[in-house]
């Protein structure tokens, strides 16, 4: 089985590169009949591409969903903020130790309404990934998030969080500065809020790192996002002493949006464009925006104390007891 999105998508990526090249060639061609020939070829290849997409997406297994959720071109938190929010002002300070770029946050508006947004941020190239620490937040990131939650409460702004992290940072320094406490305290702060909180899982919902900013009134999940108690490779390493059995673990852990909805742990699945979000980021963003606004409108009917109780009850009911 493919280990990465790139490997799995190789036939599709190559075909798309070919189509792009042919399109360029067509624009450069001056002879009308030749040009027509090239365009006819493009059409054929596009048809074949659509068939491949249909075929690949008609039988996605849990592991393919993991690869899709991790795909580099998938829209990230800042892409969504750019597409659906305006006047975003990023705020960096945790006022404790340092700046953590694995989590971005600040005030913004959605549909003209002031909110606080908090989300994990991945990077697309080596420099960005290093800068973002692969979206693995350190204690500083969660403490910065706590500050944002406090601002939201003080100024009566709803909170929107985007979930997209492989896990919280597992390094020695993060341990020494209390990564566990930071995650727990972040959840605790969310449970204090009397303003509405909506979370959207847009990529990898990676264990404690994810739930640390996902204690929300409404949790939405994109169709091809995953949400898991442990990364599949980690689970395979512990249970079967073989990290290469990630695909089996992904199936056993039931990491897909469909499973999360069936278990009642997310409230809604946000459908993605054909071939997943990156193939039409604007359409994906529009669906995400509609989902967020729908959730906020529903939560607007509740009083501040009801909002807090609603969040408590939402998580209180979770668990499967025979």
């Amino acid at each position: 089985m493919a280990k990465s999105w790139r490997e799995w998508m190789k036939p599709l990526v190559e075909l798309e590169e070919l189509i792009a090249k042919l399109k360029v060639a067509a624009t450069k061609e001056t002879e009308p009949s030749e040009q027509e020939g090239i365009l006819r070829q493009v059409e054929q290849f596009e048809k074949r591409r659509d068939n491949i997409v249909d075929l690949m997406f008609s039988r996605l297994g849990p592991w393919e969903e993991v690869l899709l959720a991790r795909a580099d071109p998938r829209p990230y938190t800042l892409d969504y903020i750019g597409a659906i929010c305006s006047e975003f002002i990023e705020l960096d300070g945790d006022r404790r130790y340092g700046a953590d770029h694995a989590i971005v946050c600040g005030p913004t508006t959605i549909d003209g309404r002031p909110i606080i947004v908090v989300g994990h941020q991945k990077g697309r190239n080596i420099q960005e990934r290093t800068f973002r620490n692969f979206a693995m937040a350190k204690p500083e990131g969660y403490r910065k998030a706590i500050r944002m939650f406090q601002l939201a409460e003080r100024f009566r702004m709803p909170v929107l969080t985007f979930i997209d992290t492989p896990a919280a940072d597992p390094g020695i320094e993060s341990e020494s500065r209390g990564i566990s406490e930071a995650i727990a305290a972040s959840m605790l702060e969310m449970f204090k809020l009397t303003v509405p909180v909506v979370s959207v899982v847009i990529g990898e919902g990676g264990s404690g790192g994810a739930i640390g900013i996902a204690a929300a009134n409404r949790v939405l999940m994109q169709e091809h996002a995953v949400y898991s108690v442990i990364p599949p490779e980690g689970c395979a390493a512990i249970l079967w002493r073989d990290a290469a059995k990630g695909p089996q673990a992904a199936a056993a852990l039931k990491v897909t949006s469909k499973s999360a909805l069936e278990l009642g742990l997310v409230d809604e699945i946000l459908p993605e464009p054909k071939g997943s979000a990156y193939r039409n980021p604007l359409e994906a963003a529009e669906t995400v925006k509609e989902g967020i606004l729908r959730s906020l409108n529903e939560l607007d009917r509740l009083s501040p104390s009801q909002i807090k109780a609603h969040r408590y009850d939402r998580f209180r009911s979770m668990g499967f007891i025979a």
Partner: protein
């Protein structure tokens, strides 16, 4: 656990210094090695018997059975084997107890049960223990011993982190003291939820306390880990817990804390009564 006196079971070996000990001495020393001071892991019944007022513990919430919601490979047989081994329904036992006559709501996790992992049942019992503290206006004491969230229940286990933390928030809002005790080991999903947001955090000496398995965190960093990385002593130096307490002093320390932080609850009781 009452020692029998057949020759084979008269001795045990300390897991740390490997010295041979009389079972009777070992038990009467609360399973702490008299030579090296190593605190051996306890079953939940030993923990309860050696911590709370004699005969005061009344178990509640029994009979909660974990389902197998994901049909996870080998979960059922592993879970049944753990039940047979420990004689308990799941990794956590909870109920009412008294500490020097003060009522407390308590939960104790047992590492012998699937690594003390927190699935739906453990999360539910921890939550009920915290809620019981609120409902009955008494302090909450929880002994942690866990490798983290239970993988076999997938995302349901992750949600127990949020559920238990929400219950801690309720305790804080209602002025109910919550003391958590890290015993060997207290890791991952348990450490990163209710356990770390207690009002007071105690730990037994040398307990393993950490977020990531030590191999993961050492791999993740170029810098060398200190020799005592992820021990209670190291975590104390980092400022992430309040006090390391030897097992023989645990009952008294907890009793004093409950007495001090719970005094306002007793004042109210008198006024109301």
């Amino acid at each position: 656990m009452r020692p029998d006196h057949t020759a084979a079971s008269r001795f045990v070996q300390c897991l740390n210094c490997k010295k041979t000990l009389f079972v009777a001495d070992f038990q009467s020393n609360l399973k702490v090695c008299p030579f090296c001071g190593h605190h051996h892991r306890l079953t939940s019944s030993e923990r309860i018997a050696w911590t709370f007022d004699e005969g005061s513990f009344q178990e509640t919430d029994t009979g909660l059975q974990s389902g197998d919601p994901l049909q996870f490979p080998d979960y059922k047989p592993k879970h049944e084997a753990a039940q047979a081994k420990t004689g308990t329904d799941d990794s956590v036992i909870c109920g009412h107890a008294k500490l020097f006559d003060n009522p407390v709501s308590v939960a104790v996790s047992d590492f012998n049960f699937m690594g003390g992992s927190m699935g739906s049942v453990a999360g539910e019992k921890i939550t009920r223990t915290l809620e019981r503290g609120c409902d009955e206006r008494c302090p909450v004491v929880i002994f942690c011993a866990s490798g983290g969230a239970r993988m076999q229940e997938g995302l349901l286990s992750l949600m127990q982190m949020a559920k238990t933390t929400a219950a801690v928030e309720r305790c804080q809002a209602e002025g109910i003291p919550f003391i958590s005790v890290f015993t060997d080991p207290t890791m991952a999903g348990v450490l990163a939820s209710y356990a770390s947001v207690a009002d007071v955090i105690l730990a037994e000496p040398k307990s393993l306390v950490g977020f990531a398995g030590s191999r993961v965190s050492k791999q993740a960093q170029v810098s060398k880990a200190p020799d005592d990385f992820q021990t209670a002593e190291w975590v104390l130096r980092c400022g992430m817990l309040d006090k390391i307490v030897e097992r023989r002093d645990m009952r008294t320390t907890l009793g004093n804390l409950v007495n001090l932080f719970g005094s306002h609850l007793r004042v109210n009781e008198v006024k109301v009564g």
